[in-house]
Point group: C2
Chain length 248, copies 2
DNA sequence: GCAAAAGTGTTTCAGATACACCCATGC
DNA sequence: GCATGGGTGTATCTGAAACACTTTTGC
C-alpha cells in the first residue's frame, strides 16, 4: 500500500548501505587464542593498494536489510552466509564518515565455520580473510570500518555468552574441545577444559552428546566424545568467564 | 567533497527515520519498581484516537543521527534532551513495518530526570509520558514501536550495569536511595539497601560523597548523605544483580 | 517513646577457578 | 612405556545475598 508522498523530495541526499562483518575462527592448531579470529575483507577496484574494506553495498527497494547483507557479501567476496545467523551491530551515520558522499551504514555480523575460498564476482578485485588482531591494530581498513569490526567483535562476544552462535563456527558434529577453541578466540585467553566442560553441559539443551560416538583422529591422546547442537536459542545459564584468580 | 554519482537514481524508494525512546523514572513514592518507568509518546494528527507513537522523523541532509533525534523530539513533544546522552538501540528496516511506505528507522534511547511537561510544537497533537508496563502489555503503539521500546529498555538496562547513565535520572545532588530507586525500576524488583550501598561505593569514581552534607527533608527516618556524580564513564566493577536466593 | 529510614557488620551460599588424578589412545 | 589430550572429582576462593543490629531523624 504505497501512497504518493509530497515529502518525497525532502530526502535523498545520502545512501543507505549495509556493511557486513563475516567472522571465522582459524583451526590452525598452533595459534594462540588472540590470533584465531579472522575477518572477511575485500578490495575495491578504486581503493589504494593495501587498503581494505568490509563488503558493503546499497539497500535495494523493498529488500530486507539482512537480504542486502547476504547479496552483497556473495557479490563482493563469493562467500555464502546464512540469513538466519546475521545479527545487527549498529548504524553508522556521521556525515563525513565517507569522503565521497554521505553514506549511512547498517552493520551486520555473521559467524561461519569452514569458509569457502573467497572469490569476488563484482565490485571488488580481491577478497580474503585477515587476522582480526592485525586489522584492529594497523590502519588497513577504509572509512570507519575499524570501528565497525571492534563493535562487531564486542557484539559477537555478547552473543556467545547468551546464545548458541558459537556452534556456527563448528561442524555439525564437534568435540567440546572444538567448542572451547571458539570461546577462547573471543575471550582471548585459554580456558580450563574441565571447567568449560561442566559449564557447557549444565546449559539446558545447548549441546547433546552423540551416543557413544568417538573421534578416531590423528591427534595424540584419548579420543573425544562427539556432540551435536541442541535446540535452545538462549543459553540458560549463560556461558560467562570471570577473570582469573591468582594460582593457589 | 560530494561528487556527482551515476548510481544516484538507484536508491530513493524509502525514507530514513530516527525514532527516539525518551525514558524517565517516576518519583511517586508509592510506586512499585515495575510501575516506575515512563516512556514519552506522542499522537500523530492522522492516527486513530488512542494510538500513540514514538517521536520520530526524517533525517535531514548532512545531519548527524543524534541531531535528528533531538530536533524531532523537541518538535513533536517539546522536550529537550541532551545530545551526549543518546545511545543507539538498533535499526528497524522490515519492508512492511510501516503500511504507508517503506520506512527504515534508526532508534535511539535517552534517559532524563525531571522532565518538563510535554507540549508538542508540530507534527503532533498530543504528547505525554506513559507507563512502560502499559505500553508493553497493551496495544497502544503504532507500527513496531512496541518492539522498539522493549529493545530500548533492554539496551538501557545493560547501560545501567556498565556505565553511569543511571545518574541521568537523578539530580546533581542525590542520595543513594534516589539512585537505588532508579536501578529498581530497571531490575523490576526491590534491591537490598545495604548491599546496594556497598556495591555502588566500590565502583571507582562512580559517585562521590559530598562533605558531610545531609538532606533535611520531610521524610521520616535518619537523613541521608548526599552524593554527586563521579567522573568515570565506565563502571568498574559493573553494577549487576543476581537473581534472589531463597530466604534463609 | 515509637516508627522509619540511613548506615554497619556478619553469616551464608552459589558459582567459578585451580588443580590433582585417572582414562584411552598413538607411537 | 611414555607422552598427550579427554574426562572426573574436589578444595578453595569470591562476590553477592540475607539479615541482624546500631544510628539518627520526625512526630
Amino acid at each position: 500500500m504505497v501512497m504518493a508522498n509530497p515529502k518525497r523530495t525532502k530526502q535523498g541526499n545520502f545512501y543507505l548501505y549495509v556493511d557486513t562483518v563475516v567472522l571465522t575462527v582459524s583451526r590452525e592448531k598452533s595459534l594462540e587464542p588472540k590470533a584465531r579470529l579472522q575477518v572477511l575483507v575485500m578490495h575495491r577496484p578504486t581503493a589504494p593498494k593495501g587498503k581494505w574494506a568490509l563488503p558493503g553495498g546499497l539497500v535495494a527497494d523493498s529488500e530486507d536489510l539482512p537480504d542486502t547483507a547476504l547479496r552483497i557479501v556473495k557479490r563482493e567476496t563469493g562467500i555464502t552466509v546464512p540469513k538466519a545467523d546475521l545479527f545487527q551491530v549498529g548504524t553508522y551515520g556521521k556525515p563525513n564518515r565517507d569522503s565521497r558522499w554521505r553514506a549511512i551504514s547498517v552493520a551486520y555480523v555473521v559467524l561461519i565455520s569452514e569458509p569457502e575460498t573467497p572469490a569476488p564476482i563484482s565490485n571488488s578485485d580481491d577478497a580474503r580473510f585477515m587476522s582480526y588482531r592485525r586489522l584492529r591494530d594497523e590502519s588497513l581498513l577504509e572509512f570507519d570500518h575499524r570501528t565497525i569490526i571492534r563493535d562487531a567483535r564486542r557484539a559477537a562476544r555478547r552473543q556467545l555468552e547468551d546464545t548458541p552462535i558459537a556452534l556456527k563456527f563448528c561442524d555439525s558434529e564437534f568435540t567440546l574441545t572444538d567448542l572451547r577453541w571458539v570461546y577462547e578466540a573471543f575471550v582471548l585467553d585459554r580456558v580450563d577444559p574441565a571447567n568449560f566442560r561442566r559449564k557447557v553441559e549444565q546449559v539446558k539443551d545447548f549441546v547433546r552428546p552423540l551416543d557413544s560416538l568417538i573421534t578416531f583422529g590423528s591427534e595424540p591422546g584419548r579420543p573425544a566424545r562427539l556432540y551435536t547442537a541442541g535446540k535452545t536459542s538462549e543459553l540458560n545459564p549463560p556461558v560467562r568467564f570471570r577473570r582469573k584468580l591468582r594460582p593457589r
